[in-house]
Amino acid sequence: MIALAKKVISNVTCTFCGSTCDDLQVTVEDEKVLAVRSGCSSSLSKYLNYNAERFLTPLVRKNGQLTETSYEDAVRRSAEILANARYPLLYGWSSTSNEASRAGIELAEWVGGVIDNTTTVCHGPTLLGVHDIGEVSGSLGEIEHRADLVIYWGSNPVHSHPHHIMRYTALSTGRFRPSRKDRKMIVIDVRKTDTAKLADQFIQITPNGDYELMCALRMAVRGDELEQDAISGVPAEVIEELAELMISCQFGVIFFGLGLTMTEGRHRNVDVALSLVRDLNARTKFLIMPMRGHFNVAGANEVSAWVTGYPYAVDLSQGYPRYNPGDTTAIDVLVRGDCDAALVVASDPVSNFPVEASRRLARIPVITIDPHPSATTPIAEVVFPTTIVGIETGGCIHRMDGVAIMTKPLVPPPPGIHSDVEILRDILTHVKKSKMGQWT
């Protein structure tokens, strides 16, 4: 066999976290990824191990066991399950392309289900806050070049978004902020994380105390007097100093994580954070941005919003889009026992949902479309292997700031493996035939 030439592909967009760093150098040889430069440890692990523990053929459950089958049989079984379901859940979408999300929404419309993405267990409350208040935002490029005050609140990017600080904030080389001394970095969190250790100032708050502290900060920014000695464990003078720092900066930004959305208060924490930034813009330039986790969770929201009008948790069972988080969100749909089938694309809900929701998933027919075995695949009725977006398949994705990026395939997928888009379209074709048959 003749070895194929080694080549180095530059400016590759990483499809791990929401930072989607576009500076990877990937060396490819014999149609395999050989080496990666410039990536963080999570990125390296993804690109160098993408073939580890991989599905190579579709599986269907026969006599209780997952058994190898043909692609056509897996498509037929999946279409049957979805077309006959009364209220299926179509879940995932954050680790695949916008094109796949678009196909998924069309499928959800045909089967009359609820389509939700992983936002539901990360920044769902952020979107609820944005509906209420609006969001003063910008691009990571603006922040990289201009921000002189960077605040990470309830977020630990050293672990969750390892190159975020280096590429976009305190450690980046901006046009107008060329060095570390040109910026101040503050971390507000319930514990002194590895990110906090890099900060100029760490402010420790009591768990579930974000709302109160943010309200106090709004008061201080407006010049109101704080009547208590400490709020959420933070002395009043520290809050007043922080307010002064925020007002006096030239370009500030708050990046917030799940420390706001997963704790008591949830979207109300986000409401007050967005309001604080709105207030600050009467005095200076200030932005706010959620630290989006999966590489295309922002894209899943964008596509869902421009196709259905709503960014996640969209119920299409009535023939038109209905959106009511807390009712049409995946966890609630599962815990109530409403849905009778599920399609899981590019996600592992059993690894991310509370056990009560996963127990319901384990009791209904589940179809998974995933390159790798996960905690969800063992409970599935049908398992599709698929290609990996950003490595074997291209497609459009959205970075955490909403900037659209086209990813390109670096290597071919294993033989016979279809992409998410192809699988979804093939299932849709069968579902359409089946539904037409039911209606005539």
Binding site: P125, N156, R266, A313, I331, V350, A357
Partner: protein
């Protein structure tokens, strides 16, 4: 109890969720050393984490990032999910941080791997 992402979790999930590396990085509860001493727990020993939702056995470790008495940390994954309440309070989002939990040494109890955890999930009744 807090749950969250860690570098180890992010890196090891790419090695495979059924890998030993993933189990080592995710089926863990990080505690403050003083709390460990008070509870008679040594690093590497099995502990039982109990909340109002249920309980799970994981490995104890000294807090790798921040050490604070009364606060324990577990990485996102199937093990912490076993003790996360499903109530979303009308928002769709369960509480995955700031949960009251009890930690007790469990030297005689078995830590279940991913396969066994999924098997437990599918058990009827």
């Amino acid at each position: 109890m807090l749950s969250g992402r860690t570098l180890g979790q992010g890196r090891s999930k790419s090695l495979g969720k059924f890998s030993d590396d993933y189990l080592r990085n995710v089926a863990v509860c990080e505690l403050d050393p003083e709390d460990m001493k008070a509870l008679g727990i040594s690093p590497g020993q099995n502990v039982k984490v109990t909340t109002k939702t249920g309980s799970v056995v994981v490995r104890a470790a000294v807090a790798s990032q921040a050490s604070q008495r009364g606060i324990v940390f577990m990485p996102y994954g199937l093990w912490v999910n076993a003790v996360i309440p499903a109530e979303t309070y009308g928002t769709g989002m369960p509480s995955m941080k700031g949960i009251e939990a009890e930690i007790a040494p469990a030297p005689d109890e078995k830590l279940l791997d991913l396969e066994a955890m999924v098997e437990r999930l599918t058990r009827r009744g």
